[in-house]
């Protein structure tokens, strides 16, 4: 037997980017403790649709914690209360019958609200497009392990590459800074031999794009790495600072 609960939901409703939004209260009964947070919202939306109301718009795709789509601040924390957990992997057993839960979108100038909880995170894509890749010739697929990579570097590169680009770091930062994201993208390439050729230009261009998008600057609160569902270390920011300084003083 699974338990069910009744919840009070306070959700940010905003019809479009240019209309002002506000928090709306909904009562939801019969929430199963085994539901994921998004399934709970599905139940709410089914109810709202049946009642002829507009369902709550929210981003979702894989629902298994790897796509980075589900972006929502739950009770004042990006992705909710559990560490290293995306909103889709958060389960209702975390909550008790009678709880009130607040849900609102990421708040940043660089992430304009499209509707309700959905924000445009294209700014992160543009930072990657500015240099978060390696240029290689197309042609025959290179053999696996043709370029040796040390274990330590491979591990660190993988840890940075775990970033799913969800934007929780920006949402958690008091300054809406995207430095953890940018640091992870710079970090995973700088740890690999393939990333060395464009090392200097990459960090300069990505930081320039990051600034152009209107993200804030890091003041070392370290909230980003605590909120990150993939637990990207704050090392990413220190690495970004070092890479940026290195790029200022070298020609490579």
């Amino acid at each position: 037997m699974s338990k069910t609960m009744t919840l009070t939901l306070q959700i940010w409703r905003q019809r479009s980017a240019n209309t002002p939004g506000s928090m709306q209260t909904y009562k939801l009964e019969g929430v199963n403790e085994h539901m994921s947070f998004l399934e709970m919202l599905d139940v709410l939306n089914t109810k709202l649709t049946k009642e002829g109301q507009d369902p709550v718009a929210f981003d979702h795709d894989c629902r298994e914690g790897i796509c980075g789509s589900c972006a929502m601040v739950i009770d004042g924390r990006p992705h909710g209360p559990r560490k290293g957990t995306t909103a889709c992997q958060l389960h209702m057993r975390t909550y008790k019958d009678g709880d009130t839960i607040t849900i609102e979108p990421w708040r940043a100038k660089a992430f304009p609200v499209i509707k309700d909880l959905v924000v445009d995170r294209g700014a992160l894509d543009r930072i990657v497009a500015a240099g978060g890749f390696v240029s290689v010739n197309t042609g025959v697929t290179v053999d696996a392990n043709a370029i040796p990579v040390g274990k330590k570097n491979a591990d660190e590169a993988m840890d940075y590459a775990a970033c799913i680009g969800c934007g929780a770091c920006v949402a958690a930062c008091p300054n809406a800074s995207a430095m953890l994201f940018t640091g992870a993208k710079v970090g995973h390439l700088v740890k690999l031999p393939q990333g060395q050729v464009e090392r200097r230009g990459r960090v300069l261009r990505m930081v320039e794009q990051m600034d152009r998008e209107g993200f804030g600057a890091c003041t070392n609160h370290r909230e980003c790495s605590e909120a990150c569902p993939k637990e990207i270390s704050f090392d990413a920011i220190e690495l970004l600072n070092r890479e940026y300084m290195r790029a200022q003083v070298t020609n490579e």
Binding site: V73, D75, R77, V207, D211, F215, A217, N241, Q248
Partner: protein
């Protein structure tokens, strides 16, 4: 990605957020370094008037060094404040719409969140402190105190005869910094203002020192970062406890005229 259109160097440093942070950090290192030296120098108050006044005489006796250091400190302070204001403006603009529900922070501190406020109080204090003890306009009666060299005994003796002091060669006269210091802190209002300012400085430094180590990218790994945070708080505590001891010691009568 070709590197034909590489961004320029100093131009990107001056414009970028990370560039402004680096300016904050490097000027911060200079200012914290000065605070340590300043506090250690003032500890000589506990060694008595002769040591303290000799120290002051030595500093004033090397004007090139004195003014060189002052110029570097002033430049650092100005750059530090300008970079802080620029970053604050950018950071405020980065979130035009606030969260409807206050966020629940996990690791940040009150000190980290109110750096601009504590910095503004410390800046106001620096201005007052310079007017008080360096320029001598807030308490002129305490400021123009001198000692004169007694040639017979080769000791320095307090002398308030301004006409005599004006006639004596400079090597025979020195500022009585010890008395200025003690008289300054005998006023409970002045002592209280210094204590409040030091508490705000403690708040500022408790985040600032660790923050500049992070910005300079000096910690790799969580353990190293926690160590740097602890080092930062220890440096802040040493500076502020030393500084707090001065008004308290005078008020308690441990250091007296």
């Amino acid at each position: 990605m070709t590197d034909a259109k590489r961004p320029g160097r100093l131009s990107t440093l001056a414009r970028s957020t990370i560039g402004a942070k680096i300016v904050m950090a490097i000027t911060g290192v200079i200012l914290v370094g000065f605070l340590v030296v300043h506090m250690l120098g003032n500890l000589q108050i506990y060694l008595g008037p002769d040591t303290m006044n000799h120290y002051a005489q030595t500093l004033k006796g090397t004007p090139a060094l004195l003014w060189g250091v002052r110029a570097v400190l002033l430049a650092s302070l100005v750059l530090h404040v300008l970079a802080a204001l620029r970053l604050k403006k950018l950071n405020t603009a980065a979130r035009p719409q606030a969260y409807a529900v206050p966020r629940r922070y996990r690791v940040t501190s009150t000190a980290a969140r109110f750096m601009l406020l504590s910095g503004a109080v410390v800046l106001a204090f620096i201005v007052y402190h310079l007017l008080h003890f360096t320029v001598g306009v807030t308490n002129p009666a305490d400021f123009n105190l001198h000692e004169v060299l007694d040639v017979a005994t080769q000791t320095w003796v307090r002398n308030d005869n301004e006409q005599l002091i004006a006639k004596l060669p400079p090597e025979m006269v020195r500022h009585d910094v010890y008395s200025m210091f003690v008289r300054g802190f005998m006023n409970p209002l002045v002592a209280g203002a210094y204590i409040v300012a030091q508490l705000l400085l403690a708040m500022h430094l408790s985040h600032a020192v660790a923050s500049m180590l992070h910005t300079l990218g000096l910690s790799k790994g969580t353990a190293a970062r926690q160590r740097n945070i602890n080092i930062g708080r220890a440096i802040a505590a040493v500076i502020v406890l030393g500084n707090l001891s001065f008004p308290i010691a005078v008020q308690a009568g441990l250091v007296h005229l």
